[in-house]
Symmetry: C2
Subunit: 214 residues, 2 copies
């Protein structure tokens, strides 16, 4: 390890936060890339009239603050949704590694492409799908990601999202999200109870997500 690294330059540090804390503040120039280890977090933007749009939901293993690789400040705030644990890496350290091992940089290109694909998928949802389809696709997306990370085995996933958060992710109001959830609940497609979401009828959910004939 380096003999003398300043306080803000430690190569790798661990951190944690309670629920609803700002992990990255807009304008912040910490130059540290964060990897979430435990818990859920949100990247979200606020419009000038005070409405919120959730840009991405971060699960354990996901990265925040990757902008620091090419930007000196972060634009989009990141906040914890549940209590979180994370570690953070100094961006100059990461670039050092990349300098020694150029293939490492391609990892960033890959990560960046993946998150771009994800936000474009969400763009299609908001532009061209109705509320029921958007919700179904959000749930299927979370289900898939949690399974890939080994954080869910069957049809039940942790679901710490409030209806307002879902609304902010899907471009809807909380009231309407409540109604859409009710509709899916009454159709015996899913169930939400005590922070857990259970998919009762996966086929129907996928049908809803894919294409819902009015």
């Amino acid at each position: 390890m380096g003999a003398s690294l300043g306080e803000g330059e430690r190569r790798k540090t661990a951190g944690s936060a309670l629920a609803r804390q700002q992990i990255l503040r807009p304008g912040e120039a910490s130059g540290r890339v964060i990897v979430l280890r435990q818990g859920w977090a949100l990247r979200s933007a606020i419009t000038s009239d005070g409405r919120r749009q959730v840009l991405s939901i971060l699960l354990p293993g996901d990265i925040a603050g990757g902008e620091f690789l090419m930007r000196d400040k972060v634009r989009v705030p990141v906040q914890s949704l549940t209590p979180v644990e994370y570690c953070s890496f100094d961006v100059t350290y990461l670039k050092e590694i990349a300098g020694e091992n150029p293939a490492f940089i391609w990892t960033f290109v890959d990560l960046c492409l993946s998150s771009k694909e994800a936000s474009e998928a969400r763009l299609i949802d908001l532009g061209r799908r109705n509320a029921e389809q958007r919700l179904a696709r959000l749930i299927l997306d979370l289900h898939r990601r949690l399974r890939e990370k080994g954080l869910s085995n069957g049809a039940t996933i942790p679901f710490p999202l409030r209806q307002q958060t879902v609304a902010d992710a899907l471009g809807l109001t909380q009231v309407h999200v409540s109604r859409v959830i009710r509709s899916l609940r009454q159709s015996r497609i899913l169930q939400i109870r005590s922070g857990q979401l259970t998919i009762l009828d996966m086929d129907a959910l996928m049908a809803t997500a894919e294409f819902y004939e009015t």
Copy 2:
């Protein structure tokens, strides 16, 4: 330069296409990154029920097919909107350059971050802004980009987009786009004539884009 490169491996080639041609087909594995030189193009997705969502509008200098850097196939089709000229680079050649000059890779990270920021900005529009705001922001975005590229000096920009295309970009219907344009025209904010769009009242357009109190 290399003595024997196969037909599909030429390091750099030039190309052109008429309007409304597919430049990149989904599933295509050409492994060639395209730089648009002249004309406008679209990256757009089609939903299973046949609706279209424009993901980005490409202007001269913009890049298509950057996915080939990390993916073997392209997912999103790219089509010309006007007649276009472009050149394309073999991705293995680009990686070769990057191997010799690692700093070059960071350019890709930067490009990728920029396009991600752009699609997230659009996401906020579709999720949290009304039709009038979305249109105003689209126009201001095009105006800014064209100015930066030296393709427009004053308040007039080329505007080869059909109303249906605008609708597909903004998540609206063509009919509604027609009405919103009428509203902006009647307010003497802008004017569209023979493929040119003129911003008559920039302040009002910016006010509309930023925040429109109902």
